[in-house]
Amino acid sequence: MQGNRMNRNCTVLCLAISSVIVAGSFAGCRKLTKSDLNVAFQNSHGTEVSLKLPCSNNCLASLKGKVVLVNFWATWCEPCKAEIPSLIQFQQKYSDKGFTLLGIAMDEDGASVVQPFVEKMKFDVGGHPTGMNYPIVIGSDSVADKFGGLIGYPTSVLLTRDGKIAKTIVGPLTPEDFRDIQALVGS
């Protein structure tokens, strides 16, 4: 009888411990998805720049050795939002070919505005409501200055696999820009 109770107590204790472990690992995951993202590149003067930027979306992505299209945007920028479906589509098509987009959100209020936007907004991609499927980090003027500064939004900076700036595009991306990216990706 006492052995039975002991067994039951042990089961309850084991379950409690497992729950704590599972909960802890989920908390760990959440922390991982909202961590910093390392961005390394060579600026236009040939100087190596390494940035650790607070991440809001797809934070486990690695940029190393990939062709990266850095897209400066903001939640208040309509032309930026208008090109997001084509960015999502491009990411879908080329993310397994050594390419990634990196969105740098320039909202003054940072993650408090960007995080809910990224979590909530769905974009029409080929008739399907789709969320932003690429890493989004929070930027600032000093971050933008490292890439050569911004004169308007959207601005995209194309980085080669070895982190060199291949092209800076002010305004929405054109079909020619997408062809240039495809050429760099090698497909």
């Binding site: 930026c80 308007g152 002010v170 305004g171």
Partner: protein, 200 residues
């Protein structure tokens, strides 16, 4: 027959190789110049955010007697080709245009009146019209000079906040200081309406 004619036609003298290289080089250079000029044009059409709107502030009375309500108009000239969001933009993420006052001691803000915007479509938003201001727009405030307002010249600091875009790109939001000076007179002093073309 045509082959024969072609064979009879004297072949053009072959261009010297060096000349062909020079011609190709010139063509490439011309293409580079054209594309660079176009790129430069695209970039030069993007203005510094603080230069897109030129605001001027006017008061409706001179002097402003203590205890009297008066109006302030901020006439904002928006550079051709640009627009700013109206005070009531269509999307909650868009930044509305606002005019705010930090009233000096003895002044009180009664009301702020924004004109309605215009629904316009843009190349980046062909299906969703945006509510915007463009051209010249007048934002109005109603203020009162209280009985404890200091007599004489008073500066009323205003701040115009806007976020501008052209047809292709947007600029970061700007807070532009706008200065207004009014003359405060004793209660009951004769107030002359001024800038009547604005305060009709």
């Amino acid at each position: 027959m045509s082959d024969l004619r072609r064979s009879l036609k004297p072949a053009p003298p072959p261009k010297p190789r060096r000349l062909r290289f020079v011609a190709a080089g010139l063509l490439i250079a011309a293409a580079c110049i054209v594309s660079a000029t176009m790129g430069a044009k695209a970039q030069s059409s993007i203005l510094a955010p603080a230069t897109v709107v030129k605001p001027h502030a006017y008061a409706s009375l001179n002097p402003v007697p203590r205890g009297k309500e008066f109006q302030v108009a901020v006439v904002a000239n928006i550079v051709n080709g640009y627009h700013v969001n109206s005070n009531k933009p269509t999307d909650p993420y868009l930044i509305p245009t606002t005019i705010t006052v930090e009233p000096p001691k003895g002044f009180r803000v009664v009301d702020t009146i924004y004109p309605p915007g215009q629904e316009k479509r843009f190349p980046f938003s062909p299906d969703k019209p945006l509510n915007v201001y463009s051209g010249t727009v007048t934002l109005r405030l109603k203020l009162v000079a209280e009985n404890d307002a200091a007599l004489g010249s008073a500066t009323i600091p205003l701040t115009l906040k806007y976020q501008a875009c052209n047809d292709a790109a947007c600029l970061p939001p700007v807070k532009l200081p706008v200065k207004l000076t009014v003359q405060v007179a004793n209660a009951g002093a004769k107030a002359r309406p001024v800038h009547t073309e604005i305060f009709r």
